[in-house]
Amino acid sequence: MLSAHSLVRSVARLTTRSSRFASTLVVAEHDDEKLNSITLNTISAASKLGDVSVLVAGANAKKVAEQVAKVENVKRVIVAQDEKLKAQLPERLASVVLASQNQFKFGAIVAGASAFGRGIIPRVAAKLDVSPVSDVIEVHSEDTFSRPMYAGNAICKVKSLAPVKLITFRGTAFPPAKTEGGSAGIEDAPSSDLSYDKVEFLGQELSKSSRPDLGSAKVIVSGGRGVGSADNFKLIYDLADKLKAGVGASRAAVDAGFVPNDMQVGQTGKIVAPELYIAIGISGAIQHVAGMKDSKVIVAINKDADAPIFQIADFGLKADLFQAVPELTKAL
């Protein structure tokens, strides 16, 4: 009887311990107005690790926190609102994350694998002396993950032995969490030192576009070197508008100055996985394919039948894009 009792007690102890260990902190990405959609994908990924808390830090964080509290699977929202957290510079944000970690002892601290997440997660990891895991595409268990390497040409399954898992998740690999149905409590973040003054945010220049964001677009039309000039990109925009699609580009098109670089799809640009990806005048270099090969249906339009893009395209059209694209736009 005694041993049975102690067994029950130790099981109970184990359960509470594992549930405490299985809590995860998602560092929310937002612009002080609206939650960035990659955070929704990150919340889905994080919920595979256990209870989800979300940290919203910023100059106008309370407003965003109210949106986050309604997201499904979110149990707790931690808010840090301060003018010094404007633009969420990693140097100051790291203090808030660390103060939260000290108080709540999360088992994992995670963010989306965007420019924002890649900036903050390794910095916090350094402070905690743990090795981060980047760009996770699959969660096998609370310590085992898969991530791509070599521009997506190899998938590495890793086991993290770190006492706290510091992870960035690839947004396109996880479905977005629903923005309603949740009812998380909102609480203030523990106080932290925001006096770090060796960095200053000077401003940003965002590409203005009425088209859907590449990360969440259902259809993407992309142009490459074959498009020939910035003016010719109008063909791509016209087709995209017809399809209500986002517009992407290969590095060649960006380097040639046809389009701004935040439109680049690939290993070092954006990783996308829309329902339909139409690659126009793109040869299909390893680095580009790394950013779009998880699209559901891929269409390639290219006059070179030997272009590597045709090896991954569901539908290839060997044609001059200057004829085929206007014809396609007109027919839709």
Binding site: Y150, K159, A162, E205, N261, V299, F315, L328
Partner: protein, 263 residues
């Protein structure tokens, strides 16, 4: 101002890598290697800073295992060769930190960051400049880790850097466009591809580079504990996508896409 540039030897970007049949990694033997393209950009910018008299000295650092196979081809030059290239492109001095093969296979960005942080302190550098990511592990961590360890400000994914006294104004590539931050030295910068166009090493400079100082050290000289935190369980091929073949014309393409339900 003294600049430390971290350079990594990786499988050349144009090589289609192959996964080993035993799933322990990718095949690296007899595969062309070169300097990580992002590190080339970081190095180029550091050399430009020197040419503009904004920097006094550029120190290139790399770590890796020495050649072990007898049948090493010219392609398989080790990390020392990457440093000689850095010297030929304008670095003043290089430090090669040698690790044995077993340790090399366990190295994670955090270990590299610990080493570079230590060298940055010992060498009293004002700026650590690295590539934004290595194209082999695609981790994108080292610069940020160094900044965290040293408590220095970080300006990642730089596409433009402007020195301004004790500060650097850095334009960064972010998801929706660009942003600009001002960081106070000492600081850590990481280079994006748009930062510049790296120069080629000319033959006379390759010859001159042979006379430049190249220090060889061991990882143990720095007291870095390579404690593994991330175990690789297996490395596999990604799911293969099959080509679907060609369609004859635009109307056929449209009807096929309608059938698939994506239009």
């Amino acid at each position: 101002m003294r600049v430390l540039v971290g350079v990594k030897r990786v499988i050349d970007y144009a090589v289609k890598v192959r996964v080993k049949p035993d799933k322990t990694g990718v095949i690296t033997e007899n595969v062309q290697h070169s300097m990580n393209p992002f590190d080339e950009c970081a190095l180029e910018e550091a050399v430009k800073l020197k040419e503009k008299k904004a920097a006094k000295e550029v120190l290139a650092v790399s770590l890796g295992s020495a050649k072990t196979q007898a049948s090493t081809s010219a392609w398989n030059a080790d990390a020392v060769e990457v440093l000689r290239t850095a010297l030929a492109k304008g670095a003043d001095k290089a430090i090669y930190v040698e690790v044995d093969d077993a340790t090399a296979s366990k190295l994670e960005p955090i270990h590299v960051a610990k080493l570079l942080s230590k060298i940055a302190e010992q060498e009293k550098v004002d700026l650590v400049f690295v590539g934004k990511q290595a194209i082999d592990d695609d981790a994108c961590q080292t610069g940020q880790l160094i900044a965290g360890m040293l408590d220095w400000p970080q300006a990642t994914f730089a596409s433009k850097v402007e020195p301004d006294g004790a500060y650097f104004k850095v334009t960064r590539e972010i998801d929706g466009g660009l942003d600009t931050v001002k960081v106070k030295l000492p600081a850590v910068l990481s280079a994006d591809l748009r930062l510049n166009e790296p120069r080629y090493a000319t033959l006379p400079n390759i010859m001159k580079a042979k006379k430049k100082p190249l220090e060889k050290k061991k990882l143990s000289d720095f007291g870095i504990d390579v404690k593994q935190q991330t175990q690789t369980l297996e490395v596999t091929d990604p799911p293969v996508r099959k080509a679907g073949g060609f369609v004859d014309d635009v109307p056929t393409l449209i009807s096929k896409l309608r059938e698939k339900g994506v239009l």
